[in-house]
Amino acid sequence: MNLLLPVAGTSIGFVLLVGAGAVVGFLSGMFGVGGGFLLTPVLIMIGIPPTFAAASDSCQIIAASSSGTAAHFRLGNVDFKLGSVLLLGGLTGGSIGVHVIRMLRAMGAADFAITVTYIVVLGGIGGFMFVESLQSLRRGALVPRSHHSTQGRGLLSRLPFQMDFPRSRVRHSVIVPFLLCVSVGILSAIMGVGGGFIMVPMMVYLLRMPMHVAVGTDLFQILFTSAGITYMQATTNYTVDLMLALVLAAGSTVGAQIGARVARRLRGDQLKILLASIVLLVMAKMAVGLLISPSVLLSPAKGH
């Protein structure tokens, strides 16, 4: 059965769209990643014009992340207090990132910079997570992570505006998560993705949050950032296709629910190693794609 996408003005297989949404939703619920980095290229591949694919994807991420946030909230995995700080930092960083991109474009180095940033960031985060999780798995049981993880932070613990985040079982100066998210926001704006792939590892390794809470909190803040992007795309580029977003969401919200439940059955280290493997696979695919000469030297522009 086919479905007409009224704003994109094209017709696509219904099952194909639901299936793509379900796979991405599963990853979203399991790892707290929005799926923008994965779903947009898939949509382009199945024939949806790039501008509509990117904008409608951000709309479906709202549905997937609200479903994921609700599921994680019931499991006690959403830290609203820390999530709000992260959201503010992410939005600030995103705005700075947009200016950085504009500067790079003016210099004619934007695409090269984006590609290199992608490879370096994904490779670095994926590699580190993979090695660390593997060592942890080999050691056996998880070392309980509680308030001890915030001890011995030297300079960081002497920063002003120290605050307890009981849900995440950490104590930080508000400045730390804020600045961290500013940098992630800059990176995600440059890379053109939601930032879940960078944010979750940052929360786990630098803010010392438990993996499950990092995933739930990340979904909470993705909900707001994707809503902002959707509104912007609908009013400036007229490229949000609600029908496409809803069909994708039908798959992704169910996938997110299953993902959240599967995540609950896995240990934090197992989740981390799975996420690291996916990050490394994406990075490897990108690296190979950069080295192989393409058959056509043109590609439809996303229209940034």
Binding site: T253, L291, V296
Partner: protein, 265 residues
Amino acid sequence: MMKQSKFHVSVATILAMLFSGSAHAATSPQPVFLKVTPSVIPMGTFYAGARLQVEGHVPVGSEVVVVVRGEDVHEVFNKVGRVGPIWVNTGKVSISGIPSLLMIFSTKPIATCLARPQIDRYQLDATAVKMQIKFTPRESGGDPVADDFLKLKMGQGSYRLAVGDIRTADAFEDDLPFKLDIAWPKSAPPGTYEVRAYACRHGEIGPTFAVPLQVVEVGFPAMIAALARERPATYGIISIMVAVIAGFGIDFLTTCIFKRKVSAH
């Protein structure tokens, strides 16, 4: 009522004059005739493309060329180039002077029916289409880029050059009837298209005849498209709200299902 029907007749006459090769028809004793069924393709919710039947006749002894052409558009592409060992986007190129859709059908290879100037004038093959492409910035264009553009379009199904799809029947008096079935691509956007038949003889294009083909969104898709176009802010807010409700709704449903499963155990 009367006024309305008179208005429709006048519009139809103007459209027929605009689209038909009236100049050719006036000078030719055997004008080409063409009929497209359906003349309007409705795009409903479950639209999956359409079958288009083109039938008509040309003067006996002619070869038939049928061209389906969309409105001219301009598109932006990334140019991929090599920087050191890697392939990255090296810039953008805007391509204009191109139809949104182009399908050329002929009874014989175009080059065997027509002389090159005629092919170029009526844009009846890839070389002719390439000549019409305009690049911005100009220096970013050229033959290799035009070739890649055509490859891309043909891969997407928006451009098609087919020989032998047109079936001709026995001549009736001085007319040679022909038929063509076209699988209308589901990816073709809504808009006005032109279907034109050319009669070719002795390397020249003779009489031609064209009819318009409308592809229009109807029902719910038409409503959504209009809202997105005319009230983007409202549409944006509705999109966000619907997505949030869908997310929480599915969460509620799955929670009920999982709870029922757990209590059943």
